[in-house]
Amino acid sequence: MARIEINQSLCKGCALCTLLCPEELIKIGNQINENGYFYAVFTENGSCKGCALCAKICPDVAIEVWK
């Protein structure tokens, strides 16, 4: 079991993490943060592998990964 945490304030909604997640667990949501960006949202359904690809591509270091 693994999971990630996305820092909403740091996220700029670039969607690169949604492209790299092999399990398609990340989507851009419909809420905006204080900087006006639609931020990324993680779906926790038990299939996160903790591969950290989402975190490695995030240009804003907004993702932390636990395993």
Partner: protein, 252 residues
């Protein structure tokens, strides 16, 4: 079963949000350089040299001492810092307008002298900060604010391949070109940046890592299409790989 944090912000990166545009690869490059500094526990002895371009605020993000160089002069400033303080790890971080245009002389001579410093070179095929003008690395046919009909070699020459040029110089110990387009390429980029710092630690000579980088804002593309452009348009002209890796230090 206890859970462990397996990925978080490197120590060498301050807790400050980047000013970069959404999807800009400068942020990924900053993180990877900080990770390499952490890996070898170099934070206390590293001095960064910032250039002029979108990465000008290096000192706001890296938890190391940073000197700001005039446009194009980062390699010369880094040379001075390293010669004065041989015990320090010195790196510069420069864009393609900075390094390959106004600063090409400093860059070539620094490599040729085999200065024991590391240059991280961000090739995003434009002058990002000033509004997307043509850079020496702009691809043929690429439209920029100063090449509105696309780069034409009759007028502007060909896109310059800095890694290949520097790899021919005796003083260069390590020269590699990397990108962040796939998981495999991301790993290769991480290893190349680490190797550059490791070589500097071992006093092997000049080390250079070129990163093919997206500038979504000035390319007029979203982050995902920018990533595709790096993969499909940049990599065919700027091939990835290690172009030079010296086996032993150059002792004369």
């Amino acid at each position: 079963m206890s859970e462990k944090k397996i990925f978080s912000r490197p120590k060498t990166l301050k807790d400050a949000p980047f000013h970069f545009c959404p999807g800009c690869h400068h942020g990924i490059a900053h993180r990877m350089v900080a990770e390499a500094i952490d890996k070898y526990s170099l934070r206390e002895k590293t001095i960064g040299v910032a250039s002029v371009g979108c990465s000008v605020f290096l000192y706001d993000y890296f938890d190391v001492d940073v000197i700001e160089a005039p446009h194009g002069r980062a390699a010369a400033v880094a040379t001075g810092v390293k010669r004065a303080r041989k015990d320090k790890i010195v790196f510069s971080y420069q864009g393609d307008g900075d390094l390959a245009s106004i600063g090409i002389a400093e860059t070539v001579h620094t490599a040729n002298r085999g200065e024991n410093i590391t240059i991280i070179f961000i090739n995003n095929t434009v002058y990002g900060m000033t509004g997307g003008q043509l850079a020496p690395t702009t691809l043929l046919g690429q439209k920029t604010t100063t090449s509105p009909y696309g780069r034409d070699f009759m007028q502007d020459g060909y896109p310059i391949r800095m890694t290949e040029i520097l790899a021919t110089l005796e003083g260069t110990a390590f020269a590699a070109r990397v990108a962040f387009t796939t998981p495999k390429n991301i790993n290769m980029a991480k290893k190349a940046i680490e190797k550059a710092f490791q070589f500097q630690k071992e006093e092997m000579g000049f080390t250079f890592v070129e990163i093919l980088s997206a500038c979504p804002t000035n390319w007029g593309l979203n982050s995902i299409d920018s990533m595709k452009r790096v993969e499909e348009e940049m990599i065919p002209y700027f091939p990835l790989g290690i172009f030079k890796e010296r086996k032993a230090a150059d002792v004369l």
